[in-house]
Symmetry: C2
Subunit: 344 residues, 2 copies
Amino acid sequence: MAGGGGTRLWPASRRKRPKQFLPILPGGQTLLGATVARLLPLVPAERILVVTARSQVGEVERCVPEIPKANIVVEPIGRNTAPCIGLAAVDVMGRDPNGIMAVVPSDQYVTDADTYRQSVARAIAVASSGDICTIGIPARTPETGFGYLERGDQAANGAYALTRFVEKPDAKTAQDYVASGRFVWNSGMFFFAAERILSEIDRHMPALGKILSEIRKNRGETDRLYPDAPSESIDYGVMEKLPAGQVFVELGDFGWNDVGSWSAIGEIRNSDENGNVPTGETVTVDAQNNILYAGEGRVIAAVGVSDLIIVAEGDAVLIMPRSRAQDVREIVKALEKTKRETYL
Amino acid sequence: MAGGGGTRLWPASRRKRPKQFLPILPGGQTLLGATVARLLPLVPAERILVVTARSQVGEVERCVPEIPKANIVVEPIGRNTAPCIGLAAVDVMGRDPNGIMAVVPSDQYVTDADTYRQSVARAIAVASSGDICTIGIPARTPETGFGYLERGDQAANGAYALTRFVEKPDAKTAQDYVASGRFVWNSGMFFFAAERILSEIDRHMPALGKILSEIRKNRGETDRLYPDAPSESIDYGVMEKLPAGQVFVELGDFGWNDVGSWSAIGEIRNSDENGNVPTGETVTVDAQNNILYAGEGRVIAAVGVSDLIIVAEGDAVLIMPRSRAQDVREIVKALEKTKRETYL
């Protein structure tokens, strides 16, 4: 899944160019490129589909030239993950009615690719036996920015029964979750047979099911039919509605990072001898522990500052302390409020 | 004088677009525009000449459209102030052999325009009687970034005898200067008859005098002749060589600011209710006492930072504490050293 927008890494990420397309990883790799590279030892490029918005097809082709163009599944308009996954499932069914799908977001970073592939392979095995599986990340810190999954006992298939999806908790609840040991972070990855997810969509999201069924009969009508799909996440639209015992969770302890704010860049990239984490053209004098991100054709010069995030991309510049990385949203709100959304 | 380059307000000012052309004053006025506006009650536009580099003629026309195009004196190449003033003197002689010149830099800010014009009028009166005059700014703080003038007794013409030009002093010397009461800052303004300065150039800078004399005979040859002029300041080339008693100094206590660094912008522009001094498009959240300068087509967003200078112009961004405004030169040096002078 490489559609959607996002401004959490604003101004590098914009509504029209979200973070999966940015060269933020070491060596200038993109999150989308890294996601595909991480899966290639497990799944050949011919069997990797990338679902994206029409306006972002060019970015996808640029970031992952190894993916055949016929494997780029185009959403005429963004409609959240349930329609996106449904559209991909229709495509998979056309290729192989017994096809098993591994659905992974394209904007996550993983430190330990081997362990990642082992988790993915186990989840695919669960899906191959007809069940629905997800991957949960062992929750070691009480993050309030993630959804959580509560797991029950280990099942015969080796995975854990998933007993409950929970939304982003408050700080106190998150601490309880971590203390309990039964909660894991929801990675947003899902594994199932294409046929199974389409039948669950028929059951729990009949309006979407009807649209997908028509698209399945006539793929040429996608542009006309898809925009009527309800904008809904697969979590809320399907997963949370499945009876207990029908969804399983595999654990994935592979250094997962959802790159949800500029702080994450300080975690996934190496710092220089002064603790600065530079991307692009930068000049620093007496500056320590800053995250510096200069987009193409930009240079950032910093003198005598510490622990800042400094981003220059296109028409916009952002400066804030690393401790306030979440507050990009305050800027986004302020720009919306003052009718300057063109900067977003 | 509106030629020259400068990077003290980098990255807003560049070698090719120095500070006199930037919209840094309240209301987006430029220093050149303000300089002309300040003189207009004293000198009509028809008698104001602007000397500038060929590459900057467009900037001059944009900043001071009230100046007749025939009054823009073009230097084929920058050669410091002595050739620049000489070239202007040749132009003045062609208009009026008895012409008196008031030579003023175009990149200085003045708070009290009335007092300024009174000082200029007194200096012009001194020049009209055949003498050479300058304006000194009462030195109240021991600045080390300015040259100083030592003044002697008051003369019959009402001005003070200028006894010595001194270069930028060290901190201790500057303190002694301020304590003595006899030293004033060298404003870089000069007043003399065109004929007088040409004859002093002939005497003290004969090579330049010869070139100017040829240009005077054939103005069409300026492009060929001028580049051979020695690159020298009028202070060093002529003024410091004149015998004591031949140069006079008028005092000018009119809120003079040479806009020598980004700190100056905090002095000449008003701050908002949070102490921020914004220019251009800016968004601030929990940010205090910052100087923010967003060039055309740029937006600066600052969250949770204080006492910083943040500048975005064209391809470059600068961030530093207000207390380190002088250290732009460290960045300039670093860019030169790393062969990235295209940013300067």
